[in-house]
Each structure stands twice: as C-alpha cells, then as structure tokens.
C-alpha cells in the first residue's frame, strides 16, 4: 500500500465517522433549531437549517408557561440525594461481595443477575402498594427509595468487579494493622476505585434525572412533579407549541450532554464499564 492511498483511506475514515456522528446528532440539532423559532409563526415550508432571528426567549418562556423551576428543583433534590446514597450502598455491597468466600459470592452474583432481569413492569403494581403501606406514595422519597438499595444491581456488580482486582495481600495487611472493614472500605478500597465511582456517579445521575416512569406511577401532587413530568405537563398545556416544547426538551438534555462531554475520556474509554454492561 503506498502513502497516497493510505492518506486517502484515513481521510475517508474521518469523513464516514463524521457523517455517522452527524446522523446521531441530527435529532438534537433539529430540536435545537425548532426551539429557536418564534412561536405562532407559520412553520417553514422548506428545509431550514438555522432559523432567521433566533428566538432565545422560548427558553425563559418555558419557565413562565409551567412551574419548570420547581420541577427542576425537585429533580435536583432527587438526583442530589439518590446519587450519594447509591455510591455508598452500592460500593459497600460490592466491597462485601468481593470479600465473601467463594460459595457465598457465587450465590450473591446469581441473586444480582436475577434482579437485573426482572421485567420493570412486573414490579409497578405492588411497589405502589408497598410504598403506600410505608406512607411514601406522593413524596419524593418514593423516587429516592431505590438508592437505599444501591439503585441497580449493575452498580453493585461494577464495584464488585473493581474491588475483586485489589490484591488480597493489601487487604490482609490492612487487617493485620487492626483496621476494621469500615476503615478498609473507606481508606483502601474506595480510593482505588475512582474510575468506577465516576462511572457509577454518571450512570446513577442519568438514571434519576431521566426517570419518567416512577413519577408517573407514584407522584400525584403537582408541586412534587419532576422535570420529565414537567415536559408532559407542558405538552398538555399547549401541544402544538413546538418551539416551546423543543426548548424544554433541549433544557432537559443539556445537563446530561455536558456531563457526558466533560467525562467522556474517563467514561467511554473505561473497559471495565463496558465489561459490566456486557455481563448483565
């Protein structure tokens, strides 16, 4: 292969890659341009790649049309409480699993995988009734509660696979120094699991920020609605005001997109994470 065809191939590779990227960003791009059109204006009759007179006011109008600030605040409360809780419960369980004797560990792995495959719809009806018994229906706790149980077995498994790689001599040495399990978890294991901690932080934040089903099922008081429900409310208020609807959709997407772009280096190059997803 001579140098010229090699260079051509590289260029072609970049172009195809860029094209694919463009296709995947296209829905978001379309949402963005739609969000900048002036509401009430007749829709464009031809392809319009960027609106003339971008109408940024739509983004502030979202907050006037519905109490979006309150919905966002509720979402932030849920994420802000659930993510740290998840990190604690998931890493504790993962640490414990990694330290268990073989037989117990295999059993715990089987249980975790079983929890992973339970169809979500099959727990809707009776989780509602259990929450009712606990008096948590129609409170934000109904949304946060899974965080006390590590949110998802996936997160426990992620920590488990990370902690398994810590050499046992290291932990033995810590125990000989008289450290108890708490100290070893906090001072030895957690600092070694930083990439996993970041990955679980992102995944858990996304899980709670995006959660649409739980508030639909368990929240009825409008003052407790979260942002995804706010979108539905906005749609009910004015279902054909596409500029406003798209502005709200972009608003909800933006934090996730920014988080991903900032952390993509850690996140998308983390092999262990991919391994974990493959296993569930």
């Amino acid at each position: 292969m001579n140098k010229r065809t090699g260079k051509l191939k590289t260029t072609l590779h970049y172009l195809t890659g860029g094209l694919v990227t463009a296709v995947f960003l296209l829905p978001l791009y379309w949402a963005m341009t739609a969000s900048l059109r002036q509401p009430g204006l007749a829709p464009p009759v031809t392809v319009e790649w960027w609106p003339t007179n971008a109408h940024w006011d739509n983004f502030t109008e979202v907050f006037r049309a519905v109490p979006m600030a309150r919905y966002l605040k509720n979402s932030l409360i849920v994420v802000g409480t659930a993510v740290p809780l998840t990190l604690i419960t998931a890493s504790l369980a993962g640490f414990s699993m990694a330290q268990m004797p073989d037989k117990a560990r295999r059993r715990l792995l089987a249980v975790s995988v079983a929890y992973l495959v339970v169809p979500a719809a099959s727990i809707w009806m009776f989780r509602f009734q259990i929450l009712q018994v606990l008096g948590l229906v129609d409170t934000l706790w109904a949304l946060i509660l899974p965080a006390f149980a590590a949110s998802s077995p996936l997160f426990v498994l992620l920590f488990y696979w990370t902690f398994r790689r810590i050499p046992s001599e290291l932990i033995e040495a810590g125990r000989l120094d008289g450290a108890n399990a708490w100290a070893i978890w906090r001072r030895l294991a957690l600092p070694l699991a930083r990439p996993t901690t970041i990955a679980v932080t992102i995944l858990a934040a996304v899980l709670y920020w995006n959660d649409f089903v739980s508030p639909v099922l368990y929240i009825y008081r409008p003052e407790l609605y979260t942002a995804p429900i706010g979108l539905q409310i906005l749609k009910q208020v004015d279902s054909v005001n596409w500029p406003l609807l798209m502005a709200a959709a972009v608003l909800l997407t933006l934090p996730v997109a920014v988080l991903l772009i900032i952390l993509q280096r850690v996140f998308l190059n983390n092999l262990s994470l991919a391994e974990t997803m493959e296993r569930n």
């Binding site: 590779h13 970049y14 890659g17 694919v20 990227t21 995947f24 829905p27 978001l28 379309w30 949402a31 464009p44 031809t46 392809v47 419960t89 504790l92 369980a93 699993m97 929890y115 495959v117 339970v118 169809p119 719809a121 099959s122 727990i123 809707w124 009806m125 009776f126 009734q129 259990i130 509660l145 899974p146 149980a149 590590a150 077995p153 426990v156 108890n180 399990a181 978890w185 992102i202 996304v206 995006n210 639909v216 942002a227 995804p228 429900i229 749609k235 798209m246 959709a249 972009v250 909800l252 997407t253 996730v256 997109a257 991903l260 993509q264 998308l268 991919a274 997803m277 493959e278 569930n280």
Partner: protein, 297 residues
Amino acid sequence: MPLYRRLKSWINSYRGQLRLFLLPYLAGMFVLVALPGVMTAVTAFTDYNAIQPPTWVGLDNFQRMRTYSLVRLSLRNTLLFAITAVPLRLVGALVLALLLQRKRRLFGLYRAAVYLPAVIPEAAYALIWLWIFNPLYGPLNMVLGWLGLPAPAWLAEPGSAQAAIVIMSLFQIGEGFVVLLAGLQSIPRAIYEAAHVDGATRWQSFWRITLPLITPWLLLLTFRDLLMSVQNTYTPSFIMTYGGPYYATTYVPLLVYELAFDLLDYGLAAALLVVLYAFTGAVIMGILSVVGSWGEE
C-alpha cells in the same frame, strides 16, 4: 453472654461487618423488587382490583387473555418490535464500533455523539422524535420532500408508526456500541498482524478473526437486547402515540399500565406479566445453554 454483647461482638468482627454492608442492598432489593415481583406472579391467579381483597380464580385470567384481543395484539406488537429492532440495533452497534474503534483524534468525540442518545432523558427524546415525525411540518418529511422521496404519515398510520418506534430505538444503541468497542479492544493486535503478514485482506480478517472472536459478545448482547426490548417501549409509546393509531403501538408494558392503573384489572395485568416472566426465563435458559457450551469446548 447477653444478647446485646453477642450482637456487639458480631458487629465488631470483620465477617459481621461485611454482612452488614450487604444489608441495605439485599433488604432493599427484596422489598422493592423481589416482593412486588412475587406478588405479581401470585396475583395472576386471582381477581383483584386493588380495593377489595383478591379472590382466587385459578387459571381464569389466562383463559381471559386468550380471548382478550388487545392482549394478543400487544404481544404481537411487542414481538414484532423485538424481531425487527434487535437485529438492526445489533448490526448498527457492530458497524459503528468497527468504524469508530481506532484511537484517532476526534474519534473520542465521535464515540461520545453515538453514545449520547442512550443517556438523554427518554421523555425529552421521545418528544423530540414526536416533532421529527410530524407529518406536516416535521424536519424528517421536509428533508424527504426536498429529496423528492415519498413522505409517510409516520405516527398517524399503524404500519409507519411501528416503523417510527423502531427507527427511534435505532438511535439509542449507545450501550451495545460501548460493549462491542470493548469486545473489539480485547482482540490482540498480534493476530491481525500475523494475518496481514500471511497476505489476508481486511475483509478476510473480519470474517475469519473479528467475527468469530466477537461472537460471544454479540450473543450476550442479543439476549440482553431481547430482554430490554420487551420493556423499553413504554416511554416512547406513552409519549408519542399512547398506543395508537388503532392500537398499533400498544406494547405489553403500556397495556399492563392501562390494565392495572386505569382499568384496575390487576389479575389480567399480572397474567400478562407472567407471560413476560416466561419469556425472560426462556432467554435466560438460552444464555445459560450458550455460556455452558463454551465451557465444554
């Protein structure tokens, strides 16, 4: 030794502390997942409306399921979605992983863009696609018209509505993509170099090296995607079509929601979920038999 002392020494032991660490996870999962899941399975054999206590009716709900045309329709829709979306999603994820696996400048951003739709709030993404599929003003039909192609009515007609839900799901393949990237990275480069020295073309190395070595990953992903595809239709169908037009996008999760929370027919909803359990069980058996056969080789 008094009880509290024994408890105290147990908590102070390493073993005891390890067990304690597992308690929130195991107890929480039991209350939030296992218990409701089992209650659903039992309810399938009862008549229950969430207000009066349930009464045992044996296999009545399963009998009703056979004559309840919406149940059959939702199962058919779900199956149709799975057999069209799963292979397409898999091939899409593989092609993208092959294309973007190299460590090159900009490729990190390319990968992030492909992954992004997997983390966008589903409520927002479904709303965005509702706009894109708008038959009159939506950008998709604008572009199709501009290219001189026919513009379907998308969500307004049964067939194209089903296709639309599949198309949207093809953009949310970030997880499979990341998994296959890792799978490709796990193949030692030396194998390719050896094949290259022996005069193998790119095409040959793909069929003889890459594909066989990545097959286990592809199989596990297929099973996983099958499991996910029977539940992931809930939010798109809820927001974009609410099951319509003519029930063409009434999938199992949406019907379960309708039956349980609107019609208060918990028994029938639970029976439908037992069918889902059976399907899940079958997929797990598939995984186990495949994984088991690897061990024998």
